[in-house]
């Protein structure tokens, strides 16, 4: 990159930063049109961009900003009142300016966009006041200009305001300083007159002279600076904003600041004899000046701009250090074991803990350098809400809290889009029109609240609206209509599950596609992006009351806490952010429903998948009756991952698998462990996807191990009991299964079925059980059967017309492996039975 490119880059970075602030200021301005500070700030942004762009020869941009500047200048002087119409024009021009800047960034040219109509509108709004007067006359500054300093003749035509302004402000500053200094001097003089009379004569002389000199010096510096400016404006424009990371840009005090201290030491040196008094006065003056600046403008933050690459590099190095630390800790543990009680151990322990402590602190410190306030993202929303509310004819207010909450830069970049979609959604679907709101007894103006706060190692962003809320039934019917889900699926859905339908691709509740929403893409993007960040989404909503969406995102991406799990002889790391809990269950608690493994976790049914099935781990041994289930939660879905062992929690550094192995499904990356080995990191989002297509093998191995009683030589060796109170139903089942040639035994209710089982005349391979039966229903029967150890693995298949979720749940609890809803096709029944009794086709 050559230097011109560098200047251009700095210009762009600066401009985009300024504009970001600008949007917010402008929206604020609309509510407070008289706020001079705000106006000045906005004006200066336009001015800075104009100055820099003219230097860089972006004529179109200069042309546009020049007219913006004019208009804003008029407003600043009270010649123009900012109302909604004027604001529209200003906002339009800002948008155009942004577009031009984007164009410059992408192509290096500012052509190709039509700015003339906008310029005309700007002029039209401004018309009535001759532009020339503003252009030529120095701006009257609210601060009274008392000292008549001759205006510098070098003032360039294109920038009268700039020089006028800076001068005026410098003057004001000087004026203030002089007053301050004179007051000080007077006090000192009074003091001095008591002790030494001779000094008295010199003193007024000196103070008068030094004042004049200070002025002269400042004057000279200004002139010099202006001359330099022509050549150096580019550097200047990148230097100036540097100390201005604070929202208020203060371009003019910046040049004044160095000039004052420079003038001060220069002044007393030649005139005053080396007396302690004037010398002491000089630093005092500087102090006073600094205070004044802090009071007058905003607190100038001490910041430097650092290339993100350097921070990334630093972060990588820290990553290495963390790995080294982990390794050191491991070695320390080994040494401790081997040389227990030795004196040097204590010392080693200390060193290790210090290194570990410092590394952790260092890591936090470096992470902090990468942190940005989320306000950076939030800033664009006031403007967006304003535009949306005008477009949708709604009255919407945005309340932002916690914008100072910080999070990693890479996350700030990713979080913007999802938030835009959510807020758009809230505006479009959430908040009702004023009429509707009034009719339903709400305030006319809807409120969207945007909250950010820390919660442990996470940042939580909450978007709350007081709109019409989500209607679970409506969401379901819409989804069915759009073919996103089937009716059967919809029936079994809880309210929360229904809410999460809005994240399905292709789903939209908007009656028609508007420019705001309705294409059914947005919320899908939200989910994808949040998942990418290992975040979670939680929706709460009440019809008529509003919706609250909670995004929970880990603070940083590069170094994370992970849960290490073992399967056979392999280890995997699962990001702790996605781990909700871990539970130890006995294998009996794993049920199979429609050939998927599930378990009951408190009042939920959790589908299970074995990590070995996902990652093709050969299962050589299976040693225990127990399994560990890691409950994973991501965005709005949950899954239980069965693992062989839980190793522990460790801080890991995410490393890429490189170009050659990238994009392996289910693997997010790798990390290096304390022992130097590589451990793969599970990509929870992908794992959840994969789990859908993986066939369960969880429950089978134990069943297979025990095997069925007896050997099967012919189809009739298989025996099935049909339990149903309805003769018709029994006949249908019999007819369906007869083609298999298996032995069928019938029972009319639970009690009879249980008796047949107890008699032991038949060795059953499976049972088809109706739920609704007299004397003893299907659930009770199943529960009774499962009490016998002998029948623990006997497949019980429910055949019923009850298909609610609660019914299925009860079925699972009581030990049913399959749930067939009436009506069913004979083939279906046959297949289910065949599968469950492991029917050997070859016989």
């Amino acid at each position: 990159m050559d230097e011109f490119q560098e200047i251009l880059q700095d210009f762009l970075v600066e401009s985009f930063e300024l504009i970001e602030q600008l949007d917010q200021d402008l929206v604020e301005l609309e509510s407070r049109p008289d706020d001079l500070d705000l106006l000045n700030r906005i004006f200066r942004v336009a001015h800075t961009i104009k100055g820099a762009s003219s230097f860089l020869n972006f004529d179109v941009l200069t042309h546009l900003t020049h007219h913006m500047e004019n208009l804003l200048n008029m407003a600043r002087h009270g010649d123009l009142t900012i109302d909604a119409d004027v604001m529209d024009v200003i906002l339009e021009s800002i948008d155009l300016m942004k577009a031009l800047l984007v164009r410059i960034r992408d192509s290096g040219m500012d052509g190709g966009l039509e700015v003339e109509p906008c310029v005309e509108r700007l002029n039209a709004v401004a018309s009535g006041t001759p532009l020339s007067t503003i252009a030529e006359e120095p701006a009257p500054i609210p601060v009274a200009v008392a000292t008549p300093v001759p205006a510098p003749t070098a003032t360039t035509e294109e920038e009268p305001d700039y020089s006028g302004m800076s001068e005026a402000e410098v003057e004001a500053e000087i004026e203030r300083l002089i007053a301050l200094r004179q007051a000080e001097d007077a006090a000192k003089r009074a003091k001095a007159s008591q002790s030494k009379a001779t000094v008295q004569e010199e003193e007024p002389d000196y103070s008068g002279m030094s004042d004049a000199e200070v002025e002269a010096e400042i004057e000279r510096l200004i002139l010099k600076r202006q001359a330099e400016d022509a050549a150096k404006r580019a550097q200047k424009s990148e230097q100036q904003p540097q100390p201005q990371a604070t929202p208020v840009p203060v371009p003019t005090p910046a040049p004044a600041a160095p000039s004052a201290p420079m003038a001060a030491p220069a002044a007393p040196a030649p005139v005053a004899p080396p007396k302690p008094k004037p010398v002491a006065a000089a630093p005092k003056k500087i102090e006073g000046k600094d205070d004044g600046e802090n009071r007058g403008g905003s607190a100038v933050e001490q910041t430097i701009r650092v290339d993100v690459k350097r921070l990334d590099h630093l972060m990588n190095l820290i990553g290495e250090l963390v790995l080294g630390k982990n390794r050191l800790i491991k070695i320390n543990d080994d040494v401790e074991e081997r040389y227990e009680g030795e004196a040097f151990l204590e010392e080693l322990n200390q060193v290790v803990s210090i290194v570990s402590l410092v590394t952790t602190d260092l890591q936090i410190a470096v992470m902090k350098t990468r942190m940005l306030p989320i306000g950076k993202v939030f800033n664009k929303f006031p403007r967006m809400i304003r535009d949306l509310s005008r477009e949708l004819n709604k009255k919407i207010e945005l309340e932002i809290t916690g914008e100072e909450t910080e999070l990693d830069k890479s996350i700030v970049e990713e979080i913007g889009d999802p938030l835009v979609h959510i807020i758009r959604n809230s505006c479009d679907h959430g908040i009702e029109t004023p009429e509707v709101r009034l009719a339903s007894g709400k305030e006319e103006t809807g409120t969207i609240r945007l909250k950010a706060y820390h919660e442990g190692n996470h940042i939580v962003i909450q978007i709350i609206d007081d709109g019409k809320g989500l209607d679970a039934d409506m969401l379901k019917s819409k989804s069915i209509e759009k073919g996103v889900i089937t009716e059967k699926e919809a029936d079994g859905m809880s309210e929360k599950e229904a809410f999460s339908l809005i994240f399905r691709p292709g789903f939209s509740t908007a009656a028609q596609v508007t420019s705001v929403s309705g294409r059914g893409v947005g919320m899908d993007v939200v989910k994808t992006n949040i998942e990418k960040l290992n975040g979670m989404i939680d929706i709460d909503s009440e019809v008529g009351q509003g919706t609250s969406m909670k995004l929970k995102i880990p603070l940083t991406l590069a170094i994370i806490q992970a849960l290490l799990v073992g399967v056979q002889e392999e280890y995997y790391a699962i990001p702790l952010a996605s781990v909700l809990e871990t539970v130890r269950i006995s294998k009996d608690e794993i049920y199979t429903v429609e050939s998927r493994s599930v378990m009951r976790l408190r009042d939920e049914v959790l589908s299970l998948v074995h990590i070995g099935d996902i990652f093709e781990v050969e299962r050589v041994f299976d040693n225990s009756e127990h399994a560990y289930v890691v409950v994973l939660g991501l965005a709005e879905s949950k899954i239980g991952l069965i693992v062989d062992s839980l190793v522990g929690q460790e801080e890991i550094v995410i490393k890429s698998l490189g170009e050659y192995l990238k994009g392996i499904e289910g693997i997010a990356g790798a990390t290096i462990r304390g022992d130097g080995g590589v451990t793969l990191i599970v990509d929870v989002a992908a794992l959840m996807q994969m789990a859908k297509s993986v066939k369960s093998t969880v429950g089978q191995e134990s069943a297979e191990a025990k095997g069925r009683l007896g050997t099967k030589n012919k189809p009739s060796d298989y025996t099935i009991m049909i339990v149903d109170d309805s003769k018709t139903d029994r006949t249908i089942m019999r007819k369906s299964l007869e083609p298999l040639g298996i032995t069928l035994v019938e029972a009319t209710d639970g009690v009879e079925a249980l008796n047949i089982l107890k008699q032991g005349d038949h060795l059953f391979d499976g049972m088809l059980v109706d739920i609704e039966m007299p004397r003893m229903d299907g659930y009770t029967l199943a529960a009774e059967i499962k009490k016998y150890n002998k029948y623990k693995n006997l497949p019980l298949i429910a055949v019923t017309s009850r298909n609610g979720k609660a019914d299925r749940m009860r079925g699972v609890e009581s030990g049913m492996v399959e749930y067939i809803t009436k009506p069913y096709s004979p083939e279906y029944l046959m297949n289910v039975v065949k599968r469950n009794i492991k029917f050997n086709e070859g016989l």
Binding site: D2, E3, F4, F55, L56, N57, A230, A234, E320, L323, E570, I614, F615, E616, V617, K655, S656, L657, G658, E659, Y660, L661, I664, E665, G666, I667, A670, I672, G676, G677, V678, T679, L680
Partner: protein
């Protein structure tokens, strides 16, 4: 104004551009054995050669990808050249080595049966790969002829290319 600036900047940036150094007429190769054959790769494409260390299996990859290993903090894929060339896998021996090859940013370790030697070969002694090469063997860059033997030179970029 800016044109002027541009000019100055350009001038400042005009660094002395040396004449292109003449490419050496001799190529240097490292020879190794996989199965019964001797192969070689240009010495400059080799980052390092190490003794076998432990690696971690990566699921959902072809069988010739053994997994990944840790090379001083970098996670690097490990490819078994025997399997890659369609040979029966063999237990690692004392002579087994990992050759870490690189091509630009692509780096991978390759398991070979044993090393032979570093070879200096005049460019004129390198012939093209035989025409009868099938697609599977298009990893061959050329064939080096020495007095007593023929050495297959492999395309490193092809070896490092992901083909699944």
């Amino acid at each position: 104004m800016s044109e002027k600036l541009q000019q100055i900047i350009n001038k400042q940036h005009k660094t002395l551009s040396g004449d292109d150094v003449k490419i050496d007429e001799v190529i240097q190769l490292v020879g190794f054995i996989v199965g019964d054959e001797e192969f070689s790769v240009p010495i400059l494409s080799i980052q390092e050669i190490i003794k076998p260390i432990s690696w971690t299996r990566v699921p959902q990859t072809p069988n010739y990808i053994l997994g990944v290993f840790n090379l001083r903090g970098s996670v690097i894929p490990l490819i078994d050249l025997r399997s890659r060339f369609g040979l029966e896998p063999m237990k690692h021996t004392e002579e087994t080595r990992f050759i870490v090859m690189k091509n630009g940013d692509d780096v991978a370790g390759f398991v070979i049966d044993r090393l032979t030697e570093a070879i200096r070969l005049p460019k004129k002694d390198v012939g093209p790969a035989p025409d009868t090469i099938s697609e599977e063997e298009s990893m061959i860059d050329g064939v080096g002829k020495q007095a007593d033997r023929i050495i297959t030179i492999l395309k490193v970029w092809k070896l490092l290319e992901r083909n699944f």
